[in-house]
Symmetry: C2
Subunit: 313 residues, 2 copies
């Protein structure tokens, strides 16, 4: 059920030529605030502005010739839509992207600019799935799930893998938790490529389905999607949950104001643009300072696709 080290190595070989090896940035001022050594893996500088490029490239590359000819379809609150659109353009495949009406404008524009066909729908998971299924039926396109797809998970794993290749002695590797595709991939990288590094998730209290799922042992859902971290509104899936159960040490929940404060600190001190979801694991480190004191912590800054005209601070 859990991919092997060979799967991970194949994914690294497949994905690396098509993505940026994003910089790892440090900030003495943020180190001081948290009381630890932080290593930020800047996937906000990734192609199309988020780690999701990695999973999309890997999933599309693993399709058959016939599948590629019929195209790919996905639903996404934004970044995975852009990732599939751009990866598909590079690989000369038609992409269909279902997006919730309330997705940030900048993400819709990104998907359009890469030549994908957008269909808007209500922001519920049910509406998104139904709309994607209709397109799938009509066009024969292959459905790519943004997070519950083993090839996507393995593609996502390459961000953490790059970080661990440079900093093999990390004590902790923190990522946000939304649909579970990034943290599952990261946990695979940590498991196969590090000694004792622990993978920890950061999750908003408002949509703490992953935290509750690990407590109950089954996939829990959220009653709301009301969080500033718009990339983290979705639930775990049956393919990534077992990986998370097996390989993730802990999930730390954070309040909305902690996310906004963390995001502002990253912007002001590091002078980089990150989206709210990216600030969640940093906010988790800040909340649980005592837990992390003097440790070496990798943090995956998942993306930078934020509407700069509509900020939460």
């Amino acid at each position: 059920m859990i991919p092997t080290k060979q799967h991970l190595e194949e994914a690294i070989a497949t994905v690396t030529p098509f993505v940026h090896q994003t910089p790892i940035v440090t900030s003495s001022s943020l180190n001081e605030i948290v009381g630890a050594q932080l290593y930020f893996k800047c996937e906000n500088f990734q192609k199309m502005g988020a780690f999701k490029m990695r999973g999309a490239v890997h999933a599309i590359q693993n399709l058959s010739h016939a599948q590629k000819k019929a195209g790919v379809v996905t639903h996404s609150s934004g970044n995975f839509g852009q990732a599939v659109a751009l990866a598909a353009r590079i690989l000369k495949v038609q992409a269909y992207v279902v997006m919730p009406e309330n997705a940030p404008l900048v993400k819709k524009e990104g998907v359009k600019s890469y030549g994908a066909q957008i269909t808007e729908c209500e922001s519920t998971l049910a509406a998104r799935e139904a709309t994607a299924a209709a397109i799938q039926l009509k066009t024969g396109a292959t459905f790519l799930h943004p997070s519950n797809n083993i090839d996507v998970i393995l593609g996502n794993a390459t961000a953490g893998a790059e970080l661990l290749q440079k900093h093999a002695d990390l004590d902790f590797l923190l990522t946000p938790v939304g649909g579970g595709g990034l943290i599952a991939g990261t946990a695979l990288a940590t498991h196969y490529l590090s000694g004792n590094c622990k993978t920890i998730g950061g999750e908003p209290f408002a949509v703490d389905d992953a935290y509750r799922s690990l407590q109950s042992g089954k996939i829990e859902t959220n009653q709301t999607t009301q969080t500033v971290a718009d990339g983290l509104r979705t639930n775990l899936g049956d393919l990534n949950f077992p990986i998370i159960q097996e390989l993730v040490s802990e999930i730390i929940r954070v309040e909305e104001d902690e996310i906004i404060h963390g995001m502002k600190l990253i912007w002001e001190r590091m002078k980089i643009v990150v989206e709210p979801s990216s600030a969640v694991p940093f906010a988790a480190a800040l909340r649980e300072k005592d837990h992390f004191r003097n440790k070496k912590i990798g943090i995956i800054l998942s993306g930078g696709n934020v509407d700069v005209s509509n900020l939460p601070f």
Copy 2:
């Protein structure tokens, strides 16, 4: 009157150990928009968030022991104040910083956090100069002008020097023009370290004193300080103006909405935080696209100290 190549080389040797060798970033999306190859020198990632650290370090290092003991005083709309404060702290010198009341909050906080003593005054040049002179009299501190000081100019030159060391074949090197200290230093670097590279300034129409000064052959002043580019509200000085007259090819003026549009593009496409002044030379390249088509253009992103809670877009 114009510093020699040896002065420049000494400045590089003196300043380099105390500053970040900031990254040079490219963006295929912004290259496409301008129709040229752009190389952004990211002084927003410099210590204290701006190129001014370079000039401050150089000026303070060149003081005598007795001068260092009495401290340094400056007036600044923000970045030079922070630069003097931080450089002084590193060199164990007391710093006094005069700041206009309307300086961005984030800059005042920066100066305070580095341990300098702040005195606020009206935002006119006259008020700033009078306040600094009073402190100078009272404490015996050496006055450091933010831009009209040869050691500051030579320190500032090291940003362009680093860019030209990596990209010797630039056709143009663009900087913002405020008090003239950055463009004068950059023009020295271009003059001594490149073949045919031309130094060009970007300046807001609202405070186009440098443009008018080059036209008239004498230092002109502005009737207003009303520009979004808060770092560019000051006038040229008698030490930097001759350098600018001799070595700067051209000044391109830009409208306020062009500055804001350029700033937003840099934030959205490059995912980095720059202050409005930094966007001025990029806006100039965008305004005069035809002039720059297919050329290699260096652009100094002068700083990133912006109040992210109070953006112009």
